[in-house]
Symmetry: C2
Subunit: 524 residues, 2 copies
């Protein structure tokens, strides 16, 4: 439970002292901007992290040791920071059992300024959740999004995804941020990696981990007076049906690939099908073309070629572009080569290189006085809360809201729509989509324009009780694939994507304007 | 123990199968380049992470459940990947009890291409350690380095560090990479933060966590029909001696600061000393000048001003430069204002924004046949191993080495020096410093140029037994302060730092050239 910021606890005590700790409130978790990697920016995000947050919440409570630590904290003049009655309250009530939660499921495509996770319940508990919620969700969304981009760069329309083996492996553990490497591995699997090299994480998720071998293996053999060929042979001997050889320790084309081919042919003669080679340095486009040529000439056209070494979506884009231009010149079919490539993606995936944080926030959007019951979609009115920012696009959307996705007749998502809790956009005709901050911008859709309006939020917790069947990672991956496919190609592209609209209904727009007006009046 | 990459295990089995698993080897951990944040680059790093790595190593073993998971793994044709005899060996021997380790202590300034951590011992165990060692050390070095830079930007020579309160607070948990936020918080404390907001981490390290309050606290009050002033008063009531108020929820200069002043004066009348305000948006230089002016005019010159909102070393540099230029114009003494600023640093510290990974590697540098004894500095000769890279500066320094720091008569560090294990640079006169890859570059120092030559590596583990008294975080911080002070100001500066030299002795240089020659011959 101490996986939190100190101020959540000091605010908690203040609410307790004032008798506000059981006031029912709503916080929305959302992000304001897509990740911007410097040279390029995302056009969509992939939601992730909910399950691990729920697991953490379920176990979270104040242990005796935690309470003693808080009891020992003193302020500047030496008096205790937390009083016994508050600590006693924490001991009895410092859990998340009173909270209700709605969320957009993991794996779904999401966009800025829409509520991804909605928390309702007693103020003290909802406030105490803030830091851990942001920590769990922001990071997994960040990495799932990066993984989806890298996968989309690696996928070629000319090569059907079904039927081929793994396309993308997560290899970043050694460059991950401490044990955050585990959350990153999970998010990478949701977002687009087929497998991870992280053994413990794969165990937890029930996936087989994947890997090859390191340069050090070749070096050990050479230091003991043996050769690269002997190292390869030893590997083939131990893993005859899973023989994937790293070929760049000495010289890729002069030594590594010829030695690998020799060992592969020996394996074949013994009735085993060799698996692949890995290239980890140099000009990966050029080397993969040459390696493919040599493998083809040796009658080994099915050997996969794993590429690694600081890959990301732009590096992959460049490699594939170069292969498209150059492969034929060497007698290699570009599509055939692209179809046998596998990407081992490490540092730049696990750190979301270029944008290592998602600016997700957790904002108070509504308050309700009264009893501690928190039925979702309750008829009891909420008081919407607003924080007016200097820039109007930073002002959060207030109140108790629903989120919807609008699909056109092509089956493509054309906008997400936020409504008040009691609105039903599926019955609105025409459907007015207001820009969240610019009053001059809106769109009107007739029934004929709209094929489907889909609610995005599902009930997850009701007064702390889980009312949601957690999907498997495979289901999340299927969700992500389906959602990405239903994006306009302009939104999906890696560079300069189209802006996807997250709009407000007329009534939500009116409420927001009214609250801004009233807040401005109060402050002047 | 499964906090590792799959290939460490498959290589482990290969070594076991070939009877090489107890061959004694040496791996060096080092990084090749300083973090490069895009607009600017580090001139030094701060070492960190060792203690948590040692803790992990001490507990690491294969539990029955881990072994069952490995037993269930199958290759492409369905046969088992790991055999019973190897799993049995892992169960009995899969620990780090046979390893010896030397390391540069945490908190010390370190540089590229010098061994930060040296692991000696049986090949299988040393290989199994790789991923976790890199994960633990790379990340904490990255963050400790960033923290040291941010602290150095915040420190002004005109303001003595001693005697003032905290200067820098780590606030980044919500943007950290999952539970990696804990390792980041620890590294931030070693590198330069005075405190962290992370409660659990502070508990583990025995520090008091620090924090203020959130915008949501003001919003709750306003949604319930009360005002910012009433929220501030409530906070002052509960925390009269630790009253630090966030003043930008409505309007910093029109509402927040005047309300804070009113509450501070009320506190004063009740005999309490108010603490500070926090600015979290807008032009922090301008707002801090105006806030200081208003606080001074109200007779509150000792109120600290906490700045937050995407701070990093360049943002702080810019804020302080602007204060230096503009404060006097508003009747505020710039030094006095700079002396009361406190920096709450979040996202850009905890993610090492601009360079979210340190490219630290773990390379085989020596192999020894024979029995399993591993006395450090043994007389039994090692076979140095080398991996020749295409670029000569990427070729690791081979063999069994020592690392030294050379200080000049001013007491400043002028170079680090790597020697062979049996060399004693303190007895060399003149001292020749060879460039690690450019044969034309070397420096010769006479006795008169050198004040001190200090060995950097200390013995940490001897055959798995800890022979090192772990320093406290305070001792690491003192180490870092002393080492940074002994850097040339040109190396220390934030932008375009001088290159600090890590050199080789003549004999190590000769050995490296000989190994490269011999490796090139073998490969052609």
């Amino acid at each position: 439970m101490l996986f939190t910021d100190q101020y959540e606890l000091t605010m908690g005590q203040l609410y307790y002292r004032l008798g506000l700790h059981e006031t029912v409130v709503q916080f929305d978790h959302f992000f304001r901007n897509y990740p911007d990697y410097g040279a390029h920016k995302a056009g969509y995000c992939v939601n992730a992290g909910l399950e691990w947050l729920l697991d953490w919440m379920q176990d979270a409570h104040f242990r005796q040791d935690d309470l003693e630590y808080l009891r020992g904290q003193t302020g500047r003049v030496g008096s205790r920071l937390f009083s016994d009655d508050f600590l006693d309250w924490l001991r009895k009530n410092g859990t998340f059992e009173g909270l209700s939660m709605r969320a957009i499921p993991e794996g779904r495509v999401v966009h800025p300024n829409e509520p991804l996770t909605v928390v309702q319940g007693p103020l003290a508990a909802a406030q105490l959740l803030e830091t851990s919620l942001l920590n769990h969700l922001n990071f997994q969304i960040l990495i799932a999004t990066k993984a989806a981009r890298i996968r989309s760069a690696a996928l070629r329309d000319s090569i059907p995804e079904g039927g081929r083996g793994p396309l993308m492996l997560e290899f970043g553990m050694r460059r991950g941020h401490g044990t955050g490497a585990n959350a990153a591995g999970r998010a990478a699997l949701i977002g687009g990696a087929d497998y991870s090299s992280n053994v413990g994480l794969s165990h937890v998720l029930g996936y087989p981990p994947k890997g090859t071998h390191a340069h050090s293996m070749i070096q050990v053999f050479m230091s003991l007076g043996m050769s690269e060929l002997e190292a390869f042979r030893a590997y083939a001997e131990v893993y005859p049906d899973d023989c994937l050889l790293l070929v760049d320790t000495i010289d890729t084309l002069e030594s590594g690939v010829p030695n690998a081919i020799r060992v592969f042919q020996e394996l074949r003669r013994k009735g085993h099908e060799p698996q692949g080679i890995r290239l980890d340095s140099g000009d990966l486009a050029y080397l993969s073309i040459q390696a493919a040529r040599m493998l083809n000439d040796a009658g080994l056209p099915n050997i996969v070629i794993v590429l690694s070494n600081d890959l990301d979506e732009l590096v992959i884009l460049q490699i594939l572009t170069q292969i498209g231009h150059e492969a034929s010149r060497y007698g290699v079919d570009p599509d055939e080569l692209m179809g046998r490539l596998v990407y081992g993606v490490g540092t730049r995936l696990i750190t979301s290189w270029g944008q290592p944080a998602l600016g997700g926030v957790y904002k108070l959007v509504a308050v309700r006085d009264g009893r501690r019951t928190t039925p979702l979609r309750s008829e009891i009115p909420w008081v919407p809360a607003i924080k007016v920012s200097e820039s109007s696009d930073k002002t959060p959307n207030p109140g108790h809201k629903l989120a919807w996705r609008v699909y056109d007749r092509r089956g493509l998502a054309i906008a997400d729509l936020l409504s008040l809790d009691d609105e039903e956009p599926r019955h609105m005709n025409p459907l007015v989509l207001r820009h969240p901050s610019d009053h001059a911008k809106y769109r009107t859709l007739d029934e004929g324009d709209v094929a489907e309006i889909e609610p995005l939020l599902v009930d997850v917790l009701l007064d702390g009780r889980r009312v949601y069947d957690l999907p498997s990672i495979e289901e999340m991956r299927a969700r992500r694939r389906a959602d990405v496919e239903r994006l306009d190609p302009g939104v999906r592209r890696l560079l300069n994507p189209h802006v996807y609209h997250v709009s407000l209904t007329q009534r939500l727009w009116d409420l927001k304007q009214e609250l801004i007006r009233s807040a401005m009046e109060k402050s002047h």
